[in-house]
Symmetry: C2
Subunit: 123 residues, 2 copies
DNA sequence: ATACATGCAAATCTTTTGCAATCAA
DNA sequence: TTGATTGCAAAAGATTTGCATGTAT
């Protein structure tokens, strides 16, 4: 694992946001650890391949990177905000419904966040 | 709804595959309904905005377009093949676990398809 | 006549790659 | 010294946009 990959992993694991490659790049720069954006992408690919980070693809947005602690995601239909949610043993519940062996899953719940609900109420 | 959008919607609804914009473009060409790829994208955006089609984003692949009949997806971890699966009232089950009002969800189950399992067994 | 739909090319954005320079074992 | 790591620029691939033209109401 390279020095840069380590920094990046640390950033991802210590952030509660879901960072894009660009944000991670800027974050490294701020900490005076200059790297090329291409190197960030390369390191992210490596970390992802090794299963050390999770990659979240959302249509129309750059990919986001997340820690691997098990949790699911919710996306606000209005503003696109991404937040975490943890559901109880969903793999088990899914597994009950199919014979196929489920390795893992990727769930995004679509909802409307409180901010957007408040805005709607006003209108 | 424009003429092109109608054709495209028909193609998506009558296909059991999950087509990319490019495939839809080629499909139209075959049927002698020439359109520009940009127009396909524009029509797809429109259809998606109107909720008439579903968009599936998978990392590293072009987006795929799907009919809106409720069903979920499985992705083979090895070969990336995308298939359909229908789960019983998952929204209800999810809703039991959270107070947030769930509009819908997007689930991808990660598994290993039969073909890839067979290949693994041989090796 | 007006507003929308189209085709084409060019622009954009994210991500990957090639290659030369650098670093570490 | 050898091979991996980096930075930079350029390429690649998917999607969007600008604009001039065409079409339908």
């Amino acid at each position: 694992m390279t020095k840069n990959a380590k920094y990046i992993l640390k950033i991802i694991n210590s952030s509660s946001d879901h960072l894009t490659a660009e944000q991670i790049y800027l974050c490294l720069k701020e900490r005076n650890k200059a790297v090329a954006l291409a190197t960030v992408y390369n390191s992210l690919s490596f970390l992802h391949k090794e299963g050390l980070i999770k990659k979240i693809s959302i249509e129309g947005c750059p990919d986001r990177y997340d820690n691997t602690k098990r949790h699911d995601h919710m996306i606000c239909k209005k503003c696109g905000k991404l937040s975490d949610i943890t559901l109880e043993n969903l793999t088990g519940r899914l597994q009950e419904q199919t014979d196929i062996y489920i390795i893992s899953y990727d769930l995004k719940i679509i909802y409307i966040c409180d901010d957007c609900l408040a805005k709607e109420d006003k209108a």
